[in-house]
Amino acid sequence: MSQYLYIALMFVGIYGLLSQKNILKMIISLNIMELGLNLFIISTGYIKEAKAPIILFGNEGNYVDPLPQAIVLTAIVIGLGVTAVALMLARNIYKTYGTYEIDEIRGENDD
């Protein structure tokens, strides 16, 4: 069932966050995770042999659940916003420290 794959995809993202030390790769991992999550959300609305919930197409009554679709729309946009900020931060980090590698960043959080 494809829902398994979506959850798995989410965990792939988490694995990326766990193992990656490069800021850009981490952003990508985040995106993978969000993608998996969004797919999972969509999948919760799926109903077998049901159609897209648009009345004009004439599938009276037999629609898939439209709510997850609405929600995923919001989630995607939020993901976009986060990614934009993340990328900008990555650029600033590169500008300040000259690297994208976490291990090479010096001078922050040390007391």
């Binding site: 989410m10 988490i14 966050l17 800021i23 981490m26 985040l30 995770m33 969000e34 999550l37 999972f40 959300i41 919760t44 709510l67 997850p68 929600i71 919001t74 989630a75 939020i78 916003g81 986060v82 900020v85 993340a86 931060l89 990555a90 600033n92 980090i93 300040t96 420290y97 976490i102 960043i105 922050e108 959080n109 007391d111």
Partner: protein
């Protein structure tokens, strides 16, 4: 009476307007903040549907006694933060207005997904404000953890949706007890972890050190009071009323809260810089309050939440101002600093003593209530709470003694040894400090004048039936 939607709509409207009328943004920000701070007191209670769609189908705002008091507190805190961070606003005015709207929405909303949206609004605003400290990596860490947290939260609520077919809090809280254990454990842990990131619970809060530890006079009080109060209040709402965990799982959550409390307090004890110390103290307090929410001591939790929020306003404002003015906040270099600004010193001291929970200050009332409700559960939780309080007291007293009394060790205390530090732009903070200090003292002697509403709030939180009937039975 004011429709609570306005507390979200007006700040947002002002934020949008401020984009193209830049010059007015200063006025807009303060106007909006004063408006929300005042109108918080005149908020209309009850359930408010958005777009006229009744729950669980539409989104609703819920103003019961609980959110009422939180809204008042948060908006007041926001205003105080603005006052103390007046000189740091710069280009952040629009974002601040969005934050105001977001935090109000976060507290009032009656829909789990809507809560996620508001959570994202304030966290993204948080990333941006935090970046004003130029510590981009810390912000990035916050971003990663924050995004992970909200994703976990979203996963949790989508599992719930997949099971119950609804996102409305009231609806879910009604059906949740009947859900099978395996779904419960998934949804609860994921929601817990997701909110735990914002509420600063221990394994989820690695971002806090970098963010709180590098705050400016604006972001310091903002994060530590407004954000923290909002996040913890939501935490209390969700786990106190909506998704009430069962006995096994709640034990894990309580354990985590207590671990956060004690671990963070020990870390604070090991801190040599003022902001870092306060950071860990904030984490510890969050752990404590969440523990109280988890064990059902809503009243105590709320009192401590408010106590902590107002106390941290002064503490963080002072610490960040000291850093801003001198470029350093090592405690050893600040010896005798209060002698130069006695009013702030007074406020700081009273706030600290209240936070520790010494009598004559409001915090003591919180502490005895905490112990009372903790004892209702078992004997170990109060013991651990007391252990943490001892550690907390030690480092705060160390701090206060240092800041009040200039002088080398082994020498009589004298003005000669006073720190070279100064506090710039401290006038508004002095006023706030004295004001809050007096409130702490007065309410420490006669707590009734503050606690009446809090007691109602706690009652409304534990009274799920009324909540359900207000939301689902209304209209």
């Amino acid at each position: 009476m004011i429709n609570p939607v306005l507390l979200i709509a007006i700040p947002l409207l002002a934020a949008f307007i401020s984009v193209f009328i830049q010059k007015l943004s200063w006025v807009l920000l303060f106007g909006v903040s004063i408006f929300t701070a005042i109108s918080g007191f005149f908020l209309q209670k009850g359930m408010f549907m958005i777009g006229g769609w009744k729950p669980p189908f539409g989104i609703n705002l819920m103003i019961d006694d609980y959110s009422f008091i939180i809204i008042i507190v948060i908006n007041l805190l926001f205003f105080l933060t603005l006052l103390s961070g007046m000189w740091e606003l710069k280009k952040n005015k629009t974002i601040l207005m969005v934050i105001l709207a977001g935090i109000n929405g976060l507290v009032m909303t009656g829909d789990l997904f809507n809560l996620f949206v508001f959570l994202e609004i304030i966290t993204i605003s948080g990333y941006i404000l935090a970046a004003s400290s130029d510590k981009y990596y810390s912000v990035f860490k916050y971003l990663v953890l924050g995004t992970l947290g909200s994703s976990l939260y979203l996963f949790g609520i989508m599992v719930l949706y997949g099971t119950l077919g609804t996102l409305n809090m009231a609806d879910i809280s009604q059906q949740f007890p009947n859900v099978s254990g395996s779904v419960k454990i998934i949804s609860l842990t994921f929601v817990f972890a997701g909110l735990g990131v914002e509420a600063k619970l221990l394994p989820f809060n690695a971002w806090v050190k970098g963010i709180y530890g590098n705050t400016t006079p604006l972001t310091g009080p903002l994060f530590s009071t407004v954000f923290a109060t909002g996040a913890i209040a939501v935490f209390g709402r969700i786990f106190g009323q909506i998704l009430v965990p069962d006995s096994t799982l709640i034990f894990a959550f309580i354990a985590l809260g207590l671990i956060t409390f004690i671990f963070a307090e020990t870390s604070a004890m090991a801190s040599k810089k003022l902001r870092e110390l306060l950071t860990f103290s904030s984490i510890g307090q969050a752990g404590l309050i969440i523990t109280m929410f988890m064990i059902g001591g809503f009243y105590a939790a709320l009192i401590q939440l408010i106590n902590n929020a107002f106390a941290k306003t002064i503490l963080f404002s002072y610490a960040t101002k000291a850093y801003k003015s001198n470029g350093d906040d090592t405690i050893n270099n600040m010896s005798g600093l209060f002698r130069k600004n006695v009013m702030m010193g007074f406020g700081f001291t009273v706030a600290t003593l209240s936070l520790i929970g010494l009598p004559l200050f409001f915090g003591f009332y919180a502490k005895i209530n905490m112990l009372q409700s903790a004892f209702a559960l078992n004997m170990w939780i109060p013991a651990l709470i007391i252990l943490g309080s001892i550690i907390e007291g030690i480092y705060y007293i160390r701090l206060l003694v240092k800041l009040w009394n200039p002088g080398e060790e082994g020498q009589e205390s004298s003005e000669l040894a006073q720190s070279q530090f100064v506090i710039k732009n401290g006038f508004s903070l002095s006023l706030i400090a004295v004001l809050i200090g007096i409130i702490f003292v007065v309410s420490g002697i006669i707590p009734d004048f503050l606690t009446e509403n809090i007691a109602k709030a706690a009652d409304s939180l534990s009274d799920a039936a009324t909540y359900l009937s207000t939301v689902l039975g209304g209209i």
